[in-house]
Symmetry: C2
Subunit: 347 residues, 2 copies
Amino acid sequence: MQKNTCNIYDVAKMAGVSTATVSRVLNGSDKVSPRTRDKVMDVVTKVGFTPNAFAKGLGMNTMHTVGILVPTISDTYMASAVAYLEKELVTYGYDCILSCSGFELAGKQTKTELLLSKHIDSLIYVGSTYAGNGKDIHTTNYIRRAAKQVPVFIINGNVAGENIYASVFEDEAAVYEMTGRLIGRGRKHILFLTDSHSYSSNNKKKGFRKALKEAGIDEKDKVLYVENDVYAVKEFLLSLEGKKIDAIIAANDDIAIGAVKYALHRGIRIPEDLEIIGYNNSYLAVSSSPEISSIDNHTAEICKDTVERIIRILSGEENTLKHKISVPCSLVERETTLRESEESAKL
Amino acid sequence: MQKNTCNIYDVAKMAGVSTATVSRVLNGSDKVSPRTRDKVMDVVTKVGFTPNAFAKGLGMNTMHTVGILVPTISDTYMASAVAYLEKELVTYGYDCILSCSGFELAGKQTKTELLLSKHIDSLIYVGSTYAGNGKDIHTTNYIRRAAKQVPVFIINGNVAGENIYASVFEDEAAVYEMTGRLIGRGRKHILFLTDSHSYSSNNKKKGFRKALKEAGIDEKDKVLYVENDVYAVKEFLLSLEGKKIDAIIAANDDIAIGAVKYALHRGIRIPEDLEIIGYNNSYLAVSSSPEISSIDNHTAEICKDTVERIIRILSGEENTLKHKISVPCSLVERETTLRESEESAKL
């Protein structure tokens, strides 16, 4: 029998199973024994078919694959976003393939080309680094070029252009509100710690500065840049000896953990003498003791929503979609902030 | 000008730059301004070339892409392994694409087919789940089938077959030694907590039981299965009220963090009254307070070694490679175990 000339009936016959069983194997159903699966796949391999070739043969006109680009997968928060996206895509019968671009433009461009060359139906960028610096159009044109080939989605970043869909977290509003709450509880020496100049980080800084300004608090030396490493943050805070600090808002949970370690080292009481707020509500926040109160940008929901939008677009519904959606954030209260009830008791 | 008929000189001319600049853009060099990059990529897109098409045109006969399969990317440890692999592959000019298979055979098989359909030069499986149950050959035949197409590497699992290369951590020896050390320090009520029946987990159990047996300690109710969730582990340990526990070895750091939370909740002193040993030496181990002593299986080195082996094979050196390498593990001592010096002081 010649390669690529047989169909699902031939495969079923050669493997001695029903076409329904062949279909189940190719569609990744769990309800096939390892032994039967093996029989079918041995035939599929022998006759030179892959499940994708089959899918095409059966009349589907896409590869059912979505590309995902992240700067780095070692970041807990990005890894969890990818996991959410993958989980959702699978429920719609879509596979995903991932690549890591780093934070430089060259990597963003070449990895975009890489994914596009793998016959993807859509491309998702995860992270505000992809939105460029917000000033130079040349730092985001690689996205507009990609959008000429497939619909593009950006999670936590906005890039204007045809066929580009953005979800933006309301980071500025969230940090503004949290800073205001801390000031309302009498905190005056609040620091904002960040490791980044990204779109997202800049919005957080804006919210922080706005709240300080409105309360008449001098913002000098309140926004500080740190390395994104638990020990580096701890050492940095220890080096600020003599500086009054009664609250810290961190741009991510890793930095917040460094702040916790600083406080434990110094014997500073959390949250009585130092309140700490993390960001991303990641797994790290609960790994810490005390557990970290963290701003949740509802990544799980955003990822679910993004996948639903992708499916709608790929079904030809692009005219009904907004090009940008904004998502409010909220604080998950744990052990590093005073609770409303405690606040009342304190008053 | 017709699509696909122009070469690098045409592109350089049309973009008004040198061929060296075109080459730099296509190879992902950082040393090109966003504006120049844009000019070149606009031409490349216009004439219908992708960098990969270029690479082929320049005489390279591979796609320079390696596929990586993990069960789930939300696992901190697997995410860090992927990050290490990616970083190493890039230094050799290789891209990687990732897919998540879940823990079921159906997913492992279909995602293997997916990656193979994306024209990869080699395939890396990360995690001992891919080694099957060690009994039924049908649970690993998908790997042998893949190995007929490209060289296959397994990190922390061994599958016999042509063109399959395995790295195996010496988990049994590591847990045997750690359990022995705890017993040597007078610990008698040691638990081993795991969430899995994987090849790796089974080896850890073996080492644990062997050490208990040699010391004449009854192993009944010492190996316990838990859900891989910090709070679930904490609640589980709290539910064992009345059971004497003076040491816990966890199959991963997540479980160890649950044990720390249990001890803090109960006011049990760590490490004086309860020693806790995690596994994987992941970022979670340092996020915890107290920081967790954790068994390091040297993932970074294994990933580096795996990539070097891939490059050697793709350069035609397969005859010089061992099909299986074993890697010893070691304990990174932090705050949840007694240190050698403290042990001496105690004696």
